[in-house]
Assembly symmetry: C2
Homo-oligomer: 494 residues x 2
């Protein structure tokens, strides 16, 4: 190792907006991703792992989030023998790399190409509470098919995925909308210019927050927001605003009714009619596959991503209630979204390539599973073999080797064994179910002490409870019964 | 999406030294990492996932590879509201982040802290054939224990890991050496200054390549290398060089014999005697755990990492032979290495914290498993439901939904269905075992055609073989038997 000058000590800190994940935070996510990969695989999707680093040129500057078009990436310039080379950057999502991969390898890939990808992405944004600059995404996309059957399949797969990871039917809903229908609505409104059109799109994006009345005000004269500030409106007449309102509130009791409402909202627009027909087909295909409106619905109030996607748009919401920071009940909300985007590959090849896909918010879905109690129970630590006699480390190593050989998680205490109390504190910190003790006397008698730490904790909590009275929390067994007795205890708690 | 100006098309290419991984390349690695995590977990190690990005300050500039101390990292400077902030960089290994994590969270972590980590690391080096700038590492380390039991445990875990992923006993060996023994040898040599000491260390590092005679020459007057260039020697006398040679060649028939040879090599050196005693203890502990010299041996010829580590050093080698690029037989070689390093955390806290660990070369181990035929068989693709009538997409969706519901990987063809030949070509490219066909006639008669593509390929390969004659590669079944018949075919090939 290089010699260090007497320099000030470096700060032991993650960079701002980054964090570390420990133990079950890591393994629970890995397990969930493996379950999701299983569903994706069953649907015929193949794994793809592109590198974290792309050229800025290939990445483009298209953050999918229309709210923050200027948010950046982490980028640096290559240094090639002293000369400056390409600009490189960390990927900000998994879609831009997919476009590059597809353009680069298209002659070797099947067409259509169904692929899934899971891994971290990076955003050079101002970090905030619970908002990190590295987070996981988990995407599935079909490149090269313009058929709405591809969109319907993604929706069905999303529903299956949620159930497989542990969100029961009834606790989620996949909603489907279509950008083409919105385009038809905009056409039907007879807007005078692109600025007005963009203003209407921005307003629609606020539907989630301000609701129907709010959107009405914002499309018209304007609105006093919660902070007391007055937000200027788009300045449309009530009649002009009507198709947008009709669109956003067109969800009926049945898909058929919703479709009828949408037909009315798009009026004579050809693109609008096309969008409505696509939604109708998606509903039919899903019904044919057995995915009814209890799982997937046509719902024009889905506005997230409408500015980004070019056709069908999907969003998965969890519908069970949780308490927010202020203790108020609210729905858990969105955990996945996606849609059709037909322009990404064209950047590279000049040829339009239809594509559709979905991205699951891994961290939000994990949070949801914790809410449902599906994951997050305190993990059981290893059996700890304590060290009573440091010269007999070989004996203790033999014990852990036997336990591990029997598939039992086990470790020997590797700290300073002088203070036995510290060894038991360590076992406690490790959430160990069992400690094993073999001092000189035990060794001489061919026995070991087994300490049931879970029972010990229960007895400590409620010393008078009868249920534990006839069960000792520490007992002696012949050395040869170490594995079977430990297993017995572990099984009694599993 | 932002509007694009007419700009030149971006190149669809990975940056130099980066690559994409497809399908089984991704899933086989994921599976192997899960198996390794299982062993690490059984040994009481907890998962840790730190972020890919660290401050350059926290990372330090300590690439573990002494050959390339100046090789760099990918780094950039934070931009904070226009001001320049911290320098950030992608981690170049998983050990430097562990030191930072341990220093940052030490009050919350158990002591000793056993952790494993797996994930990509990045090196800003000149890429070469088969040498990438992003690759996976898979580490396990114990922080906070100075006991050689911690080192022995890592060696045992490494042996178990190799067997669990599919390297049979006899096809690998874990070799153990100790830097302290080398220090003792250097002491015994009576070197005049640090420069000479460093020169000897560099020479020892070449033992793998030049062998005993080469090291003798390089420690003395010098040596003509393979390219014809003359390499100056360190200038030691034969007598002075002797302890190094004795050290490097001290492996005996048994551990006891090796230990005796080492005792002779270190002479009167205290640190040397300490190192030999540690090796002796490690051998004893491993023997107590049942890990004999068929799996783990004391072998002073292990020189890789000796310049970096401060105590025991380990290396796992695969001993079976493969053919190299030139068709010559050679041993597969090293797939993992590690050792004790007691200075990393001290950088942050000022307190020395003993640590020991191992890093598995994930890509090399995967290559080894491919050599052994343990992985890499062509994966079976999905059942492809073809589209004979594009207006009946709902019927086809229903079929794939049924197949998937039965756990069978299946997809409907989503390309342009006009040319049926293209659909079968697609199925071929996907390595599909079965294609399902339902035209108008079949629909009317309540049947489907099932095409056994594996059998079809076999018949095409060897048309005259009798074994296939009484088995049709395409047949008609009632629609209701779709799932059971497809399953029957899949099971006949599994």
């Amino acid at each position: 190792m290089a010699k260090e000058k007497k320099a000030p000590k470096p700060k032991a800190q993650t960079p701002k907006g980054f964090r570390d994940y420990f133990g079950t935070e890591v393994t629970e996510r890995a397990e969930m991703l493996a379950q999701i990969a299983g569903v994706y695989h069953r649907y015929g999707f193949d794994a793809l792992e592109s590198s974290a680093v792309e050229t800025v040129e290939a990445l483009g500057k298209f953050l999918p989030d229309v709210d923050r078009p200027n948010e950046g990436v982490f980028a640096w310039q290559e240094d090639e023998d002293g000369d400056k080379g390409d600009w490189l950057a960390l990927r900000y999502d998994l879609t831009a790399p997919l476009a590059r991969v597809y353009a680069q390898h298209r002659n070797d890939l099947p067409l259509p190409y169904r692929r899934y990808a899971m891994g971290p992405v990076w955003r050079n944004e101002k970090p905030g509470p619970g908002r990190f600059r590295q987070f996981y995404q988990c995407d599935a996309d079909t490149v090269g098919s313009g058929s709405v059957a591809a969109d319907a399949e993604i929706c069905a797969m999303l529903a299956d995925t949620l159930e497989v990871v542990g969100i029961p039917r009834g606790d989620y809903i996949v909603r489907v909308n279509n950008r083409k229908v919105l385009n038809g609505v905009l056409e039907a409104m007879g807007l005078s210019n692109d600025d007005q059109r963009d203003a209407v799109l921005r307003t629609i994006d606020k539907f989630d927050k301000v609701g129907e009345a709010g959107v009405r005000e914002l499309l018209g004269k304007g609105r006093l927001d919660a902070s007391g500030a007055y937000i200027d409106g788009v300045g449309l007449s009530d009649a002009q605003a009507e198709p947008v309102i009709a669109f956003l509130t067109s969800k009926g009791e049945t898909a058929t009714q919703t479709i009828e409402n949408l037909k009315a909202a798009v009026g004579e627009s050809t693109i609008g009619a096309e969008g409505v027909a696509e939604l109708e087909q998606i509903a039919d295909l899903l019904a044919a596959g057995g995915y009814g409106p209890d799982r997937i619905v046509i719902d024009p109030s889905v506005v997230r991503g409408l500015g980004y996607y070019t056709g069908p748009v999907f969003e998965a919401e969890l519908t069970f209630e949780i308490l927010d920071e202020k203790g108020r009940k609210r729905q858990f909300g969105s955990v996945a979204g996606g849609g059709r985007y037909d322009d990404l590959v064209k950047r590279f090849t000049g040829q339009p390539v239809p594509a559709t896909g979905v991205s699951i918010g891994v961290d939000r879905l994990l949070a949801a599973l914790r809410e449902k109690g599906r994951i997050g129970s305190k993990s059981t630590g290893p059996v700890v073999v304590t060290v009573m006699d440091r010269d007999r480390m070989g004996d203790y190593q033999a014990m852990v080797a036997e336990l591990r050989g029997a598939g039992i998680r086990a470790e020997v205490y590797l700290g300073n064994p002088k203070n036995f109390g510290n060894q038991l504190k360590y076992a406690d910190k490790r959430h160990s179910p069992v400690a094993v003790i073999e001092g000189g006397d035990e060794k001489a008698n061919g026995v070991v002490q087994i300490k049931d730490l879970i029972l010990g904790a229960k007895i400590a909590e409620s010393a008078s409870l009868e249920e534990w009275q006839d069960r000792p929390n520490q007992f002696e067994v012949p050395r040869g019964q170490l594995v079977s007795k430990v297993r017995e205890i572990l099984e009694s708690y599993s």
